[in-house]
């Protein structure tokens, strides 16, 4: 039995001048996955296998994952995979998930150009359930209970009947690797598996990059009559357009009831 964790490296140009000679670093979402996998491995008493689908340049970042506590890492890659979409990569990864793995832990959407869809595509290929935003896994005898974060400060507890893909919630604090672990990670052998006939090409064609789309929700509308101080304040608040409050409640008796009525109209109480 084992716990598998999906690893992804992202490009960080600042690392180019570093000692590893690589500009790839372990993605933050993958670090969250490693933290959760360590918790799962402790709860289940099973070893952790890291799985990555990336080029050779990822290896220093994958060694960082070993330094954090991953037992071994398998990388699956071929040149044809460079243009593969999330489903193609999920198919390739599904081919190297250990047959004895009970849990696959993945991170959320990576911070570069990742989609966050791969864990769910992998779950569908494997025929496993998936749970998002997982913050904890514990073992009660033979059964495993997984706690997930939901909106509005809710926590959902699931009982796992068998295998599952768990997507780690953001914010896991990674342990600081010891020097001994770092040295061992440098010497560790990384497995390489070529995916065969798993990549479905030609479903999407890249046509080019374009400028960023504006995400501004409040347009800056400086008033001609505004003072210099008013304009500066408007700029510093990120362009939040001054507006007359859409609803003013008089500070008279019963304003609490008025406010509750307003919240009820908005579906908040």
């Amino acid at each position: 039995m084992s716990v598998a964790v999906l690893l992804r490296a992202i490009e960080d140009p600042e690392l180019a001048a570093g000692v590893t000679g690589s500009c790839f670093a372990l993605d933050e979402a993958s670090t969250d996955a490693v933290v959760l996998a360590l918790v799962a491995a402790r709860a289940l008493g099973e070893p952790i296998v890291g799985i990555a689908s990336g080029p050779e340049g990822w290896e220093p970042a994958l060694r960082d994952a070993i330094a954090l506590g991953i037992g071994e890492v398998v990388r699956t890659w071929s040149e044809e995979m460079a243009d593969a979409d999330a489903l193609g990569r999920a198919a390739a990864i599904a081919g190297v998930v250990p047959s004895d793995a009970r849990i696959v832990v993945a991170g959320g959407a990576p911070s570069d150009n990742g989609s966050g869809l791969l864990p769910f595509a992998l779950a569908e290929i494997l025929g496993w359930p998936a749970i998002e935003d997982v913050i904890e896994i514990r073992s009660n005898g033979d059964e495993q209970v997984v706690r997930a974060r939901a909106s509005g400060g809710r926590r959902l507890d699931y009982r796992l009947g068998g295998t599952a893909v768990l997507v780690a919630a953001r914010g896991g604090a990674a342990p600081y690797p010891t020097v001994a672990r770092r040295l061992a990670a440098r010497r560790a052998a990384l497995g390489l598996v070529s995916p065969s006939g798993l990549v479905d090409e030609g479903r999407l064609r890249f046509e080019g990059f374009g400028p960023a789309r504006p995400v501004t929700r409040h347009l800056l509308q400086p008033q001609a009559s505004a003072s210099a101080g008013g304009r500066l304040r408007s700029l510093m608040s990120g362009g939040a357009a001054p507006k007359v409050s859409s609803e003013a409640i008089e500070a008279t008796a019963g304003f609490g009831a008025q406010l509750v009525a307003l919240l009820a109209r908005e579906g908040l109480v």
Binding site: L117, A130, D157, R159, G208, F209, L259
Partner: protein, 315 residues
């Protein structure tokens, strides 16, 4: 004419619905919008309900493949369980899946999809030659408007069917002191005019009644009335809850930056010239010590929010 689009909304103000409607309008296509769960997300003029209360991604997974002959493009929201549905449907139907989609148009030999990449630093244009795809709309697309076409569900699903591999065995609602400000639907924030440490006690009670948590301005944190983990603003956390209740907060620019994207901002302040009223949807010019106890009294007369939520979850 471009292909038919089905948007499956999993949140209010669905970006998926907005993207599908925009595509239909610009490309003379047909778009249907359905909501995932009729109880958690009530259908309105912009969507029809296909799924019974309590429906989850796995239930949608049973129904949606049956629509493969009817629709060419499927659009989902980023919010749970949109991504799970998109990933699973893409595998089932063998269609390309694209996330963070900001625009969509029919052209050339199929479909042109523009998505955010590099954390929104630029966009990438992708072509789906077959004109068919599964998409996840970026939350920056906007909200739907107008009305949706009436779409006929392809069948019925049993939301009470159990999945032997996974079972929801319990839910818990965190209290106002345990919940992170970034995950709460309701944030009751206090500032210099909140009434000091005692005033924050009342805010915590109010937050509990609203099913939310307590936030604070930098002044209140500096004064020791609330911990730093509760600080909202440029030097604290950025929040975008459904309700932001600003109690005795003046609205300094560095605070406004951390809360301006909240859906509903209610501000209580004695000073009617306070800048917070420039970003508030609802303004109350009064002392916090007068408003908060009255509001608590009114809310106590109503059933507790948390209990309602658990009932909804039980489905």
């Amino acid at each position: 004419m471009a292909g038919r689009v089905l948007a499956v909304a999993s949140q209010a103000g669905s970006a998926a619905a907005a993207l599908a409607q925009k595509f239909a309008k610009e490309n003379r296509a047909e778009a249907d919008v359905v909501v995932l769960s009729g109880k958690l997300l009530p259908p309105g003029a912009w969507a029809s309900a296909w799924f019974a209360p309590g429906a989850e991604a796995r239930h949608a997974g049973e129904l949606l493949p049956a629509t493969a002959d009817t629709y060419d493009v499927f659009v989902f929201d980023e919010a749970r369980p949109g991504k799970e549905m998109a990933g699973r449907l893409g595998v089932r139907l063998g269609l390309p899946v694209v996330a963070e989609v900001v625009s969509l148009r029919a052209g050339g030999d199929g479909l042109q999809v523009v998505r955010n990449t590099g954390g929104g630093a630029r966009t990438a244009t992708l072509a789906a030659p077959g004109g068919r795809a599964v998409l996840v709309a970026s939350s920056t697309v906007g909200s739907p408007g107008g009305s949706a076409r009436s779409a006929t569900p392809p069948g019925k699903i049993d939301v009470n069917s159990t999945n032997a591999l996974i079972e929801l065995i319990g839910t818990a609602q965190l209290g106002p002191g345990e919940m992170e400000v970034t995950e709460a639907d309701v944030v009751v924030a206090g500032g210099r005019g909140a009434g000091g440490r005692e005033g924050f006690g009342a805010l915590e009670e109010l937050a509990g009644l609203l099913g939310g948590t307590v936030g604070a301005s930098r002044v209140a944190v500096d004064a020791g009335w609330a911990p730093y983990s509760r600080q909202i603003g440029l030097t604290g956390k950025t929040v975008a809850p459904r309700l932001y209740l600003a109690c005795g907060i003046s609205g300094a620019p560095h605070h406004v930056l951390g809360m301006r994207n909240s859906s509903l901002i209610v501000a209580i302040n004695m000073d009617k010239q306070a800048p917070i009223f420039q970003v508030a949807h609802c303004a109350i010019v009064a002392k916090v010590e007068e408003v908060v106890p009255e509001l608590i009294g009114e809310l106590r007369k109503r059933p507790p929010k948390a209990a309602e939520r658990l009932e909804v979850m039980a489905g």
